[in-house]
Symmetry: C2
Subunit: 336 residues, 2 copies
């Protein structure tokens, strides 16, 4: 069967899509060699730089969140593949500064390996860099160790908070401290209704029956969750919010930010309906939804499904940074 | 076959999705009865109000573009159905003011009928309102009369320009004049690779063969264009840009804004690749892409495909209004 995707040469896909991104938002981002997306207007050198890395094929993430008050750079790998350590090192060299660099790593084996190697090499060159690991996926179980949890779309609000703190002029230790604090309150769960196709090989990645859905699928559709008959939006919201709420130990008076990340074919219409139901679930236990996002943020090709990201607002400082202005192309500010 | 969508009661879908939208962006929009989305903070009464109307099921449009410097209100119909004249009249009454109201109408029979009836009733009540029709779809042919062209995603940049002019304090006649000028330079073409499902009836809307695509499909997937074997991104860009460029009579030195509107399952990855190819096509004839958007803007459920919207920058004033700040949840500003 012919793949129903608008592409040209599969081997050149990442380079082409990055060029397209920069064409849409030339006032905000640009692409530099080797496949690093940076801000069109760099941040002042005396401020901490915030950098992340990850495979492509998940657009708009991660590169769509490069911008003022957000990421300084995103190091981009091939489709569904981590960038290599040399590319990550190139970015660290590019942003070498006395203020230092915070490297945000999503917990996937390839990303972690490249990041760790690059950081070792950077240390030898006297580059000041600290890292933070995003492990927001709770599908490994309510009591799973942090290192067994993968990094999903919760990386985006985390980078927002870290980026805003850095933009404000906080030191590397301060940025790391606030990011660690916010990170501890982020939990994500994914649900899928269909599989998807690898855009370079044309091979299907995971498949689901005509009447099935699965909660807990990974970023590339890896199985590992629980399959069920198709639930309503309300039933889905109750199941997912229940588990997320348990992990975060949400209690009366808590405030949360909820990101509804459509991974491909699921419409903003559906995401909005589920969010309405999440608000009701939250209200039942006295928890307030202060706002969120309904959008395609970190996608998995044409898969039908979404990731529900819940961020517990741990303190006024984190809320301020989450609300702070950013010009990143795909961020929707909470305030003005 | 069971519909793979996250919904609850089909008959209540529109109300639920609007509540979800307001839950995500409470600082920006709110829903008032009967199914009208308005800004959380109203514009000053001495400025022109800009209002539009249309069916739901196309989220985030149109309601996701209510915000400062953009729409004051969106009157929402049921799934794929125009709101009735009474609802439109309710919105006109709500925004009655000496400065007047600009009503933006997408050229679809139901919307036009409701809008015209509501405007007649409003006139009897002394409400000052003028209208503008969006007819950006060129699939009816290069020489088709404007009234035979449907309104597609080109309505969004049009509302942006009108909204920014109104926000600046221009009079109703001035807002209408600038909007008409910009409107004349907007052309859109849609392409589909798959059909989609009506979320209330579960019925498929249009179908395409496994190796087919169709350029020229309408907002609800109506046939009317030309089917072909699947083209590459570059071939698709050349074909679509060629037709759009011909209609707009683009010539050396022209500047354009290009909105790549994913209608459902097509990824931002693919839209970015096509935009890269559009930039190359434009460069060949000496036309500059000043920027654009790559996103799901006006969707058609889970259909794979996109709408390419080209806006010719007719003057510095229009460019200024297109660049002007807005806090509408789904608009990506060109500047800061």
């Amino acid at each position: 069967m012919i793949m129903k995707k608008f592409i040209n040469y599969p081997e050149n896909l990442t380079v082409e899509l990055l060029e397209g991104l920069a064409t849409a938002y030339p006032q905000k981002v640009k692409v530099v060699d080797p496949k690093i997306v940076v801000r069109a207007t760099p941040k002042a050198e005396d401020k901490v730089a915030v950098i992340t890395l990850g495979g492509s094929g998940h657009e708009p993430a991660l590169s769509g969140f490069v911008g003022e008050g957000f990421l300084d750079a995103s190091v981009v790998g091939d489709i569904f593949a981590a960038p290599n350590a040399v590319a990550v090192l190139a970015a660290l060299k590019m942003f070498k500064r006395d203020a230092g660099i915070l490297l945000v790593i999503l917990n996937h084996a390839g990303d972690v390996m490249s990041a760790n190697m690059a950081m070792k090499m950077a240390a030898r060159e006297g580059i000041k860099v600290k890292s933070i690991m995003v492990s927001d996926d709770i599908s490994a179980g309510l009591d799973a160790a942090t290192e067994d949890r993968r990094g999903l779309a919760g990386s985006i609000p985390l980078c927002k908070v870290a980026g805003a703190a850095a933009e404000e002029g906080k030191s590397l230790d301060e940025v790391l401290e606030i990011a660690e604090k916010f990170n501890a309150g982020i939990a994500t769960l994914a649900v899928a209704m269909t599989g998807c196709t690898h855009p370079q090989t044309g091979q299907p990645i995971s498949e689901l029956g005509d009447d099935e859905m699965e909660i807990g699928m990974g970023q590339h559709g890896e199985a590992g969750g629980s399959r069920s008959k198709i639930l309503t939006a309300e039933e889905t919201a109750k199941s997912m919010f229940g588990n997320l709420s348990a992990v975060l130990k949400l209690a009366e008076g808590d405030k949360i930010y909820v990101m509804m990340n459509g991974v491909g074919a699921t419409t903003p219409m559906e995401l909005a309906v589920v969010l309405k139901n999440v608000k009701e679930c939250a209200a039942e236990i006295g928890v307030e939804v202060i706002g969120g996002m309904i959008d395609e943020i970190l996608t998995v090709q044409e898969m039908a499904g979404f990731q529900m990201v819940i961020c517990k607002i741990c303190c006024e400082t984190c809320q301020k940074y989450l609300y702070a202005k950013s010009n990143a192309p795909y961020w929707t500010s909470l305030g003005e």
